[in-house]
């Protein structure tokens, strides 16, 4: 039962967090985000995929005051500060739900390899491209 600290392990894997569920109706979106934030400290190669009802997690203007539940949606906009900068959003999932890119939050990060230029974290991909993203991973965590 080795307890190697992550910096000593030297292993860098490609981690994909797959988000397929809507926010608020269930806790999976929120608790998935908590994994992503903690996971950021491990310096792995992290991507997030949003497909099916998971695209609803990124809809802008969420206001949970009247259901008495915490609004965690602003946290997605802070992901760049945790060096989580690859958010793949599936076009087909958006279209089936009557959504377009304009319905989503603007999520940016500062690219340290490009003079800290602000760049969008959301990458719109089609189903075929997303399948390729999935195929290229080492570890897939589904929520």
């Amino acid at each position: 039962m080795s307890d190697i600290p992550e910096e000593a392990s030297g292993i860098v894997k490609k981690f994909l967090y797959v988000n397929r569920k809507a926010p608020h109706g269930t806790i999976y979106a929120l608790e998935s985000l908590e994994v992503v934030l903690i996971g950021a400290a491990f310096e792995q190669d992290v991507s997030l995929a949003f497909l099916d009802d998971g695209v609803f997690q990124l809809v802008k203007g969420q206001d949970t005051a009247d259901i008495g539940v915490k609004n965690f949606s602003p946290t997605y906009r802070a992901l760049g500060d945790f060096e989580v900068t690859k958010l793949y959003v599936e076009k087909e999932s958006l279209a089936e739900r009557g959504l377009s890119k304009d319905d989503l939050m603007e999520i940016m990060y500062e690219d340290e390899d490009d003079d800290w230029e602000e760049k969008p974290s959301i990458k719109l991909v089609n189903r075929t491209e997303l399948a390729a993203v999935m195929a290229g991973q080492d570890v897939i965590l589904s929520f």
């Binding site: 894997k13 994994v35 996971g39 570890v139 897939i140 965590l141």
Partner: protein
């Protein structure tokens, strides 16, 4: 081969906790290694010692505790998920000012980092949930 197992649903309500148990048992009986079993979301509810299912039903917590003891498994209950759902060990209960704890034998409470670490260290990470 080294496996990591993630259990995302509680006992009885979803079959996930049963399937995860049968899968983990098969992994071990085939001679593979289990790096860690991580209980997340409602999965933390598997780790309460207070369940008393009917005599003619399986005892999910006890199944896991016995498997854990036999193979010296590292069975980790996520602390953040556990706090939301009322699963406490002695230390946590004391820290939170509670009058008792309910964690089952063989389970320990720790952070989400243990899940990431399982993803890094294991050759295969397999998730069971709803």
């Amino acid at each position: 081969m080294k496996f990591g197992i993630v259990v995302n649903e509680g006992p009885y309500t979803h079959q996930a906790a049963d399937t995860a148990y049968q899968f983990t048992k098969a992994v071990l009986e085939k001679g593979h290694e289990v790096y860690r079993v991580f209980f997340y979301h409602d999965g933390v509810n598997v780790g309460t010692r207070m369940t008393v299912p009917p005599q003619d039903e399986r005892h999910i917590q006890r199944n896991w505790s016995e498997l854990g003891e036999k193979y010296k498994l590292d069975m980790v209950v996520c602390i953040a998920a556990a706090q939301r759902r009322g699963i406490m060990d002695e230390n946590e209960a004391k820290r939170q000012g509670l009058d008792g704890d309910n964690i089952a034998p063989g389970f320990r409470i720790s952070g989400l980092g243990q899940l990431i670490e399982a993803g890094i260290q294991a050759d295969r990470l397999v998730t069971f949930g709803d």
